[in-house]
Symmetry: C2
Subunit: 253 residues, 2 copies
């Protein structure tokens, strides 16, 4: 946060397109890794910036210190920190934290301590002051009533997928861009109805998947499979919107 | 702000496309009109939701209570309140306030009270606690180093303008969407390099124009004329980026 909205050096780690990374990405991941090394040294860690640690551990933390570095360096506040815990490859919990907006959303796939499985908005600061407010996706009867989001048309990785996105735009009520992982928190809060993305890495997806599913939504790849395998995701709060989007994207490669 | 992020009734005031308006839009404008009626009853007012008052007054306040209602109803925090003061049609000052992000930017076209002409970020609360931090656009030598923004491809009002936007995307470094009036505050803060939009109303543009110009940027219509007349704007922090964008959009109708 102290570096957000400040001019700062940006490195380009992209091969073809511009893919920025900053000192804030690297340091935020180091800070999370220090906490995990102290608290759960036997767990594995897979982070966007600093790679894989203890690859064979059954529990693995998946970290994206700044999902939406393009937004971060441009002063747009919708970048998020993503944290997921996987057990043998399956997400157990996911956290989407948008510090510049003051929104923190947690998805618990199963009961954990005092908290039942479900999605929560965490409000307040400090262990004592924190409140967990339950969240749920909203019903939406059909695509023509839906608000859809994707991070940017330029990030959809093929002409066929882009074409399917424009078809989905023409058939839906409202489209929003620039969300990165924040869009999945809006889906879990029942403020939008669908998110479609492709070309994502496991650290972009693990936490959003847990959050959306814990809030009652559906998230699959275009063919109904596992988004973590394909890097594609159709996430929706209502199964009717999910089915309509799957029809539009099923044949897009 | 109390209604932001809450489920709420949305009316559609659009003729062709979905154009949402909420009780928050109407009430925020009423609140501003009450202050103006008390403080400067002889001034005119032109508001998005409640029309024109004292049309022949030389001083006119131009109000957009929520610029970015599409973002507002979807939980995206980049909606803004826009306030401008015009003297005989020319912007004297503009204010862009993004309460969900905590960013307030003021552009003074000429000296006003204790403050010199220029753009400022207003920090802190209350008359006493407020600080004015000067802002300026950043230099950018060429389009291929530039970060560009537009609110959404679906809001560009013709195929030719959309095509020119995609050409600008292909030649620039980074593109951002979903900014509404917030994007002009980022331009004034030197965090992005250009904004291109069309089909805008005077209340969408008056405050952003004052802010961008006060911060040292350029803002014209595609043909170099007045954005308030055409509803088109090419705004840039560096004249080299402005010139490159004008070349791309000059023939787009």
């Amino acid at each position: 946060m102290p570096r957000f909205g400040q001019p700062q050096p940006v490195s380009d780690k992209g091969l073809l397109a511009f893919d920025p990374v900053t000192e804030a990405d690297r340091r935020a991941e180091q800070a999370m890794r220090r906490v995990l090394a102290r608290e759960v040294p036997e767990h594995g860690i897979h982070g966007e910036e600093h790679g894989l640690h203890l690859a064979s551990a059954p529990y693995r933390w998946v970290l994206d210190p700044i999902d939406g570095t393009r937004a971060y360096i441009s002063g747009f506040p919708t970048w998020v920190t993503l944290i997921a815990l996987l057990f043998e490859g399956e997400p157990l919990l996911g956290l989407i934290d948008a510090p510049a907006v003051g929104v923190t959303v947690l998805g618990l796939v199963c009961d954990a301590g005092a908290h039942r499985a479900g999605a929560y908005r965490i409000e307040g600061r400090g262990i004592e002051g924190r409140a967990f407010r339950p969240l749920a996706t909203r019903p939406c009867p059909s695509l023509d009533r839906a608000t859809l989001a994707t991070t940017g048309p330029e990030l959809l990785p093929s002409p066929a997928i882009l074409k399917a996105w424009w078809r989905a735009c023409a058939r839906s009520r409202l489209q929003r861009y620039g969300g990165d992982g924040f869009a999945y928190a809006l889906l879990a809060r029942g403020l939008i109805d669908g998110v479609v993305e492709a070309g994502l890495k496991p650290y972009d997806l693990a936490a959003p998947l847990a959050v959306v599913r814990a809030a009652g939504g559906l998230a699959t790849s275009f063919d109904g499979g596992d988004p973590l395998q394909s890097g594609q995701v159709i996430a929706a709060g209502d199964p009717r919107v999910h089915a309509a989007l799957r029809l539009l994207f099923a044949s897009a490669r």
